[in-house]
């Protein structure tokens, strides 16, 4: 089927949760309140590294509060993110910590009838710390005699020692790099540094846990996966999964920060179980900023290439500073495609590059270093990708867990319920999937409703990560819709007395219904609603299907960025003026929302490129921002180019393995941003930057060096490509 024949998929329809979101009636986890509910707060460590000598909660308890210390929680270690199978799942976490390993580590939970009382009680708790060596750099951590941050780590039931603070090393070798470099015409070696970025999701991480009379629990939580949250809570608190019910509520943004079970979730559960009251914990912005981060990185890159620019060899050493200060060489950013191979069956890159170049006037871009005035314009481009899902990934003998489920059922009036646990981060994933279902069934888009659900009433979905929502989750829903359609056709064939093969279903916008008809017998027709009523009134049962599936491929979703910046050489400020953003996401399920993803990616990526770096003090380990968002320097709409100056465009591709040809988009939307901005600044100034963010201070310093006649910066940090000796 070509995309042009599609009815629901491909139009920019209003998202089904749009009205509830813009009117403020949508319920997010922080909006949930239940009867007899208490409020929880979390006491967090002011020290980066400290042993807890004693905890005195007596004053808090005297105020009527219930406290949860390390002694009160199950001592088994877990990994809060369970998308890998046990052979590569390193477990080092407990509900509250036995020792502070970073500033802001959760140490004691407190619950009380009001949040104010909980806060007061929290402040009355006395903890005696034995302060240990603060480790904030890779070098410090690996030195002989450095204080171990974790003594051991649990892997597949085995307690593994950690030597010099290195828990795991991963080396990925593909091909023969020695030969590759030897055959290269040029070899370049560069070092890059990236900043420490707060996810800045709008929703403060929240949990509400209600203990049930049968010993079970009901949980509302900020999460990207209600099922993984359920499995972990069951494991930690020793509850069978049919006694743990996690509700799906709208998620106010995540950017990957709720891919794991959030740290407050099991604390809320522990407090509820201990107090016997439902307990709600909604984090403050400040504690949230201490709780998760995009790790800063230092990357040493060596590339070998041919004269025509073909890259033939590469070597990369990446160090990421984990929030937890143990060091994982080659660790990866959450949600950033794990070791998975993707098979490319659709490629819109050539089209993206061509269209983007035309939109931004690439041919007229300023020659680097050619301008002299105060304000200098520059155009830069970069492209990137993200796999759609993880495919069939085997790494170090272990598996990535990756499957989705969906239930589709036909209601008694011909409307359809889509029941799917897959979380929507706010980008419109659930809406897009409902369109895929409508498309397959041949009913108008508005006929398919997205049902509220929970872990008891839905099938497992791993998590909305790795740009897999539409590609993997949409494929599962499509599978269920296909099965439902088959039943609809079968029943209609009997009622209309024709062969099933002769029937088609198409949406009729006037009737607002799907119409089932036989193209060559015009009078044999009925609406899907007519059929549903017939089945109901004759007690013939409900048409439904519940399906699970794993996508075995994970096609790359490509993105291209062309950005136009204006550099103020007097203040060093870089202004983002225009952008042309292209996406190859296969069939575009909802163009308006897909554009929104790209524009959002530009905003977030611009922060990464130009302003954000939520660094800590190397001596104390405290955040320089102290957790205050105003000092996190997240760009807002004011830093964005005018909407009219952002062009979005899509490649005309069709991914054969995706639902109606669709692939992913989400994370890819941001990936090329930093490189595109750095290239644009180079175009404006003739100066290369290899450290993010490119702040006004760095720009002024580089301009001063340039003016002093030495392009020393460029020379020192970026040697020109070295011709390889013949």
């Amino acid at each position: 089927m070509s995309a042009t024949q599609l009815k629901s998929v491909g139009d920019s329809s209003w998202r089904k949760d749009g009205i509830s979101k813009v009117t403020g009636s949508e319920q997010y986890a922080p909006d949930i309140s239940v009867d007899r509910m208490w409020y929880g707060r979390v006491l967090r460590s002011p020290h980066a590294h400290a042993r807890i000598v004693s905890v005195d909660t007596s004053a808090a308890e005297a105020m009527g509060a219930v406290c949860l210390t390390f002694a009160d929680v199950p001592q088994t270690r877990y990994n809060e993110r369970i998308v890998s199978t046990p052979p590569c799942l390193y477990r080092d976490r407990t509900v509250v910590a036995d020792k502070a390993r970073h500033v802001g580590e959760a140490l004691v939970g407190v619950a009380a009838p009001t949040e104010e009382l909980a806060e007061k009680a929290l402040r009355s708790i006395k903890i005696e710390y034995e302060v240990l060596q603060v480790i904030t750099t890779i070098e410090q951590a690996q030195k002989d005699g450095a204080d171990p941050v974790h003594d051991t780590v649990l892997l597949n039931g085995e307690d593994k020692p950690i030597i010099n603070n290195v828990a795991v090393q991963r080396t990925i070798d593909v091909g023969d790099t020695v030969k590759g470099f030897a055959e290269s015409d040029f070899v370049i070696e560069r070092s890059f540094k990236t900043g420490r970025i707060y996810h800045a999701q709008m929703e403060p991480k929240t949990v509400i846990c209600q203990p049930e009379a049968d010993g079970g629990i009901t949980v509302w939580a900020s999460t990207q996966s209600i099922h993984n949250t359920r499995i972990l809570l069951g494991q930690i608190y020793g509850l069978p999964l049919n006694k743990v019910n996690v509700k799906k509520v709208a998620l106010g943004g995540a950017f990957g920060s709720s891919i794991q079970m959030n740290s407050v979730t099991p604390i809320g559960v522990g407090l509820a179980l201990k107090s016997g009251h439902p307990v709600k914990i909604a984090t403050t912005r400040e504690e949230d900023m201490h709780d998760h981060v995009r790790y800063p990185s230092e990357i040493k890159l060596k590339l070998g290439m041919k004269k025509d620019g073909t890259l033939i060899a590469g070597e990369m050493h990446a160090f990421e500073f984990k929030l937890k200060q143990y060091v994982g060489l080659g660790g990866t950013f959450w949600g950033q495609g794990p070791a998975s191979k993707c098979i490319i069956r659709s490629d819109g890159v050539p089209e993206l590059l061509k269209t983007g170049a035309e939109l931004i006037n690439w041919d007229k871009r300023p020659k680097p270093g050619s301008q002299t005035g105060r304000m200098r314009r520059g155009i830069g481009m970069a492209r990137g990708f993200h796999t759609s899902g993880v495919g069939h990934a085997k790494a170090s003998g272990a598996e990535m867990i990756d499957y989705s489920g969906a239930i589709v059922k036909l209601n008694e009036d011909g409307t359809v319920d889509l029941i799917q646990s897959l979380m929507d981060h706010g980008g419109g994933t659930n809406h897009a999937i409902s369109k895929i279902v409508a498309e397959e069934l041949g009913v108008p888009n508005h006929m398919v409703g997205i049902s509220p659900c929970d872990t008891r009433t839905s099938l497992y979905d791993v998590t909305t990560h790795a740009t897999r929502g539409i590609y993997a989750g949409g494929a599962a829903a499509l599978k269920a819709a296909k099965a439902v359609k088959e039943q609809i056709i079968d029943w209609a064939a009997r009622v209309l007395d024709v062969l099933p093969e002769s029937l088609v279903i198409e949406p009729d916008q006037e009737l607002g219904q799907g119409v089932i008809y036989c193209p060559n017998l015009a009078e044999r027709r009925m609406t899907v609603g007519d059929l549903a009523r017939y089945l109901h009134l004759n007690s013939l049962g409900t048409i439904s299907s519940s399906q699970s599936m794993r996508q075995v491929n994970c096609p790359p979703a490509y993105v291209s960025y062309y950005v136009d910046v204006e550099v103020d050489t007097d203040t060093g400020q870089i202004h983002s003026r225009r952008a042309a953003l292209g996406s190859d996401c296969g069939t575009v399920v909802n163009p308006a929302l897909a554009s929104g993803q790209l524009i959002g990616g530009l905003s977030k990526g611009q922060g990464y490129a130009l302003t954000e770096d939520n660094q800590w003090d190397p001596v104390t380990g405290e955040l320089a921002s102290k957790g205050f968002w105003v000092d996190g320097k997240t760009p807002s709409i004011s830093e964005s180019p005018l909407v009219a100056d952002i062009e979005t465009h899509f490649a005309h591709t069709y991914e054969p393995t995706g639902p109606f040809g669709a692939k992913g988009l989400g994370e890819a939307a941001k990936n090329p941003a930093a490189a595109a901005f750095a290239n644009a600044v180079y175009s404006a100034l003739g100066i290369r930057f290899y450290e993010l963010p490119i702040t006004p201070e760095k720009v002024l310093a580089a301009l001063a060096e340039q003016a002093a006649g030495k392009t020393a910066r460029a020379a020192r940090q970026a040697p020109a490509p070295v011709p390889v000796a013949e």
Binding site: P46, E622, V630, D631, E697
Partner: protein
């Protein structure tokens, strides 16, 4: 212990009182003494209470005291203390005659803060980064401070004494800000540098120039975020008055400013960057004000 610090939960208890008249407000202030705090828009006070930098026993809201709100234009301008930043930025007389003040109000970080925040709160909070302060300094504003018994008028240049500190006495309420009529042939401008738009200033600067032909006959320059209080720059002004208004003269004056200020390095900027951009924005503001003075004289 900073880890408990947050900007959401007000945990200490306090009494909230909402007087309807100024007289009532004075008697409440007298009754509850030094532990009471006045509340205008609350965009500074509430944050400080949540962070436990302020723990008042009583919070006295000025929201219902109508006599404190509004803008009166005549010979000069009188702005009630609880007038919102947003109302000032939209005011016609401000737009026509007090460009620096208007630009300072428009430079506020976000719409919500402009709607809630008041000019009186901005001054009484006495942050070195208060955006309206440098603008009001170059407009030569004075503040009216009242108690139940007395009223005094203090020139704004004598009002600030340190970060968070002013000459106000216990029991006093700032009721209004008075701006004299701008001199004929004058022009003013305000500029702010911040990391992102929704942020307080790394440096901000306001200037006012009076021109007679191509000569500068009067001048004021004031900066924020470059020392313990908003400051007026004497040496730079001295170098300009009586001179011709040329780019070179403005550049030279801006350089004096960059030398005279006493900025620090903090999370928002380094001392070096502050000095560098102070020079840039003072120069740019002088050029703009000079241009405006010519346009004003032509009208």
């Amino acid at each position: 212990m900073y880890m408990n610090t947050n900007t959401r939960i007000v945990s200490p208890e306090f009494d909230f009182i909402q007087p309807k008249t100024l007289a009532e407000a004075f008697s409440l202030l007298e009754e509850h003494g030094a532990t009471a705090k006045l509340l205008a828009g609350g965009t500074d006070l509430l944050v400080q209470m949540k962070m436990e930098r302020q723990q008042p026993s009583h919070v006295i809201s000025l929201a219902k005291v109508k006599e404190l709100e509004g803008i009166k234009a005549g010979d000069g301008l009188t702005i009630g203390a609880t007038t919102s930043i947003s109302a000032i930025s939209k005011s016609a007389p401000v737009k026509a005659r007090y460009a620096a003040l208007r630009e300072a109000c428009n430079a506020y970080s976000t719409v919500s803060v402009m709607l809630m925040g008041t000019i009186g709160g901005n001054l009484c909070n006495a942050s070195p980064a208060a955006d309206t302060a440098p603008a009001l300094l170059v407009h030569d504003a004075s503040v009216i401070l009242k108690t139940a018994k007395a009223t005094r008028k203090v020139p704004l240049k004598d009002f600030f004494t340190g970060p968070g500190k002013t000459v106000m006495q216990p029991g006093e309420i700032l009721t209004a800000i008075e701006l004299p009529e701008p001199a004929r042939g004058s022009g003013s401008a305000f500029l702010k540098i911040s990391r992102v738009v929704a942020d307080i200033s790394q440096v901000c600067a306001a200037v006012m120039l009076v021109r007679d032909g191509d000569k500068i006959t009067d001048c004021r320059i004031a900066l924020g975020s470059v020392g313990p209080t908003p400051v007026r720059m004497k040496h730079a002004v001295g170098a300009l008055i009586g001179q011709r208004g040329t780019p070179e003269a403005f550049d030279a004056a801006a350089e004096i400013v960059a030398r005279d200020i006493t900025p620090i390095t903090d999370v928002r900027a380094t001392e070096k960057y502050r000095r560098h951009v102070a020079r840039i924005i003072v120069r740019d503001a002088l050029l703009t004000a000079w241009q405006r003075a010519a346009e004003g004289a032509a009208k």
